[in-house]
Amino acid sequence: MTGDDLVLRAARQLEICNACRYCEGYCAVFPALERRSTYAAGDVHYIANLCHDCRDCYYACPFAPPHEYGINLPQVLSEVRAQTYRHYARPRGLARLGGWHGVNVARAALLGIIVFASLAVIVSGPQAVTSPHPGPGAFYDVVPWLLMLVPALLGTAYVLLGWVASGYAFWRDSGAAGGAIGPAELGGVVADVLSLRFLRGGGQGCTYPDDRPSMARWSLHSLVFYGFGLCFASTCAASFQQDVLGQLPPYPILSAPVLLGTVGGVAMVAGAAGLILQKRGSDRRAASSWMTDADYAFIGLLGAASLTGLLTLAVRDTSLLGVMLVVHLGVLAALYVMAPYSKFIHFVYRVLALVRNRGEQALEAASRAARGVQL
């Protein structure tokens, strides 16, 4: 199916929802579609990224398959998001990396491991990889500091530029309907994001993985989200200790980098494992297979990154340190390289859609106030 067919098919479903409106209270998708009467490609991509695939509307819809209207928003909007991810992926030239597919991600991780292993062997010698490294600077005995720093900085720049360019292209295309976006709207979006508000549904969570509402998905996604945040904080704390205080890693168990990293890593592993288990048990009728693959690939990669990080910590006083470190760095490299071309990007479009949504809500509230209408 070409992209245009998909947009038309999604638009057709949105038209029917706009005539129905029964799901208005579930999520931001419905008020957004009700503000429109026609759905151009930009609108469809914007609305699709307001959907967090909770499945509430699928189980509620009297027109879901086998009904001839065949309404299945979680599925069709997943397909549209898949198109968003591919269409707006920047830099375009590298889109063939295709981090959407588990195979490509596994290959990238393997390649990363090989590269770091070769570097370690060439630069530090085979001995360095297989023997224990007591004392400060242990990690750098295996892979010298510069060989970690330079790829990390370059990688970060590449990822951020890719995300910004993708986000910009998406924002430009998703239309002019949004109202003024000020500090209040942005603050609201930050609060929505930090609380993963929409995954809570109306307090009962998502109708996922089966037809019973549950908070499990919110909990698991929160674990991954905040786990990621803690790991990021751990990295910052470590660079503070190293570059400002001049203390070389490894750090004691009771130091900020290790504590933050351990708690974050465990949260991510647990969250990722839970999300994968949930997905395996979820209702395929409401899913798009492309997106399911992309989900597994990304969650798997995040899980592997945190798991190998934890293992590196666990074996840091043994002769396994070298091997574990190389594996961890290899997986991280894959995470970086794939970041613009994997499900990692979802948060960029999601946040932008939420920003636009807040703007539209503000505009609507203002016009309602001007008309003196009370709801």
């Binding site: 706009n18 209270g25 009467s37 009904h67 019973r212 709801l375």
Partner: protein, 466 residues
């Protein structure tokens, strides 16, 4: 043919709103309950899966509604729609009383709520809207029933009732296979809806026009159980030959097209029949009050078809329809998009535009008095020349919501016979007995109220027959 036997305390026929309310309360009263639902799992719950709001008494605005809707308001509304025809005032009072506890009871079963939907402001003080609509409500009930151990058979059609000496003994259930099971129970609660999906029966009411009617809800409500109960002596109530019908898009599926086929464009323009002639006053009353007359009006036209024509002044002013309208830059081109006689239709439009008086403002929230002069039928309000391109056209057919005929029940929801006796362990709830209170006319959200109140009463009473 394989025919086995099965025994339960309470048999509920029909797994819609009324059936599940009966099953849940019978189970709470300690009975072993079996629900036989004719539909497949995906289509369980008949017409109830198309609903969205429920009417109930509340003396002050509450968590679900924005206004007060007192017992007196509620009774007055029932009286008003009865338009002087007979209805059971005692049952109506009971309904009003019982309705007060409905939202809390529904919440306890897991039903969630939302604000009144956009475009339904006329209902937000009297009616509560459940989140996700009727199918979500039913999902909550089925989940609650599963937790309680209520047994549900899908694709299980009750085809016969054995009633001896005014006492129910058993029911014959047809299951896929095909196979038949005779279900014996201490009591039966019939919640199988009306007969709106039975073309032959509709033909008895409106003749061949029945063919051109679209059934908005389930194809499963064929009135079989209603007929059986009447044959067993149940007293009929409600208008036997008529039904509630509105204007729906003619492109709608013949069954189960649901809410999204409803067309609200009528008061913004004119409606012509197949001959290209107007046949009714499109501005007779506020739209929420007159929309339900349009099903009947269109059913009386040749081929049961009509066309609503509006111009761009109406665009975006009413809830959209699932099917985009025919559109054209000129009236002539618009007429050509369908099989309308061009000359007559054009003449109708010209005459209408010439007859329009007033400022043409199209304020649907009030009777604006913008009317026509010198044409018949007149348009009493919202008359405004159809002159601003692009022009739009919706083809219309009558869309039947439900039928009025039902069986008489007493305050325990027990079925009453023509002789004034009761079928002692036979109960009815929902659409199959709604005619006791709503024998014709319409009050939004009342169908579910009736099903809830009498379903729960029937469930409790039926559990007592063990």
């Amino acid at each position: 043919m394989d025919r086995s036997r099965y025994g339960v305390d309470v048999l509920v026929v029909g797994g819609g709103n009324a059936g599940l309310c009966a099953a849940l309360d019978a189970s709470k009263a300690g009975a072993r309950v079996l629900v036989c639902e004719k539909g497949i799992l995906d289509y369980r719950g008949g017409n109830s899966r198309h609903t969205r709001d429920i009417r109930y008494r509340h003396e002050s605005p509450d968590a679900y509604t924005t206004g007060r809707y007192s017992a007196a308001d509620f009774r007055a509304d029932i009286e008003r729609v009865s338009a002087g025809l007979e209805y059971d005032r005692e049952l109506a009072d009971l309904l009003v009383e019982e309705s007060a506890s409905l939202p809390d009871w529904m919440s306890a079963q897991g039903v969630r709520w939302q604000g009144s939907l956009r475009g339904t402001l006329n209902l937000h003080s009297s009616n509560a809207f459940f989140l996700g609509g009727g199918r979500a409500m039913l999902n909550a009930y089925y989940a609650a029933a599963r937790r309680r151990g209520v047994e549900v058979w899908y694709e299980a059609e009750v085809v016969d009732l054995r009633i001896v000496d005014e006492r129910f003994r058993s029911a014959l259930v047809a299951l896929p296979g095909p196979r038949h099971v005779e279900v014996e129970a201490a009591s039966v609660v019939v919640c199988s809806g009306g007969f709106e999906a039975n073309r032959d029966w509709l033909r008895d009411c409106i003749g061949d026009a029945a063919e051109g009617v679209i059934v908005r809800g389930t194809p499963n409500n064929d009135g079989r159980l209603l007929r059986l109960l009447l044959d067993h002596g149940a007293a009929p109530v409600g208008d036997a030959r008529s039904f509630h019908a509105i204007a729906v898009d003619a492109r709608a599926p013949r069954y189960d097209g649901g809410i999204v086929t409803r067309v609200d464009s009528v008061p913004f323009g004119i409606v012509v029949n197949r001959e290209g002639c107007r046949f009714a006053d499109e501005g007779a009353d506020l739209w929420p009050k007159q929309y339900a007359t349009w099903g009947g009006l269109i059913a009386a036209q040749p081929d049961q078809i009509a066309y609503s024509i509006v111009d761009s002044k109406a665009a975006g002013r009413f809830i959209p329809v699932a099917f985009p309208p025919h559109a054209a830059a000129s009236l002539d081109a618009l007429i050509e998009t369908v099989e309308l006689p061009p000359a007559t239709t054009r003449a109708t439009l010209t005459a209408f535009n010439a007859a329009v008086r007033g400022d043409g403002s199209l304020d649907l929230d009030r009777l604006d008095g913008n009317h026509t002069e010198g044409i018949d039928p007149p348009k009493s309000h919202w008359a405004s020349a159809i002159d601003t391109p692009p022009f739009y056209l919706y083809p219309l057919r009558p869309g039947i919501t439900f039928t009025y005929l039902g069986v008489r029940v007493d305050a325990d929801a027990r079925v009453v016979t023509t002789a004034g006796t009761t079928l002692r362990n036979v109960y009815a709830a929902g659409e199959v007995m709604a005619g006791n209170i709503l024998g014709h006319g319409y009050l939004a959200g009342l169908g579910l109220t009736i099903g809830h109140a009498f379903g729960r009463i029937a469930g409790r009473e039926a559990a007592g027959d063990r």
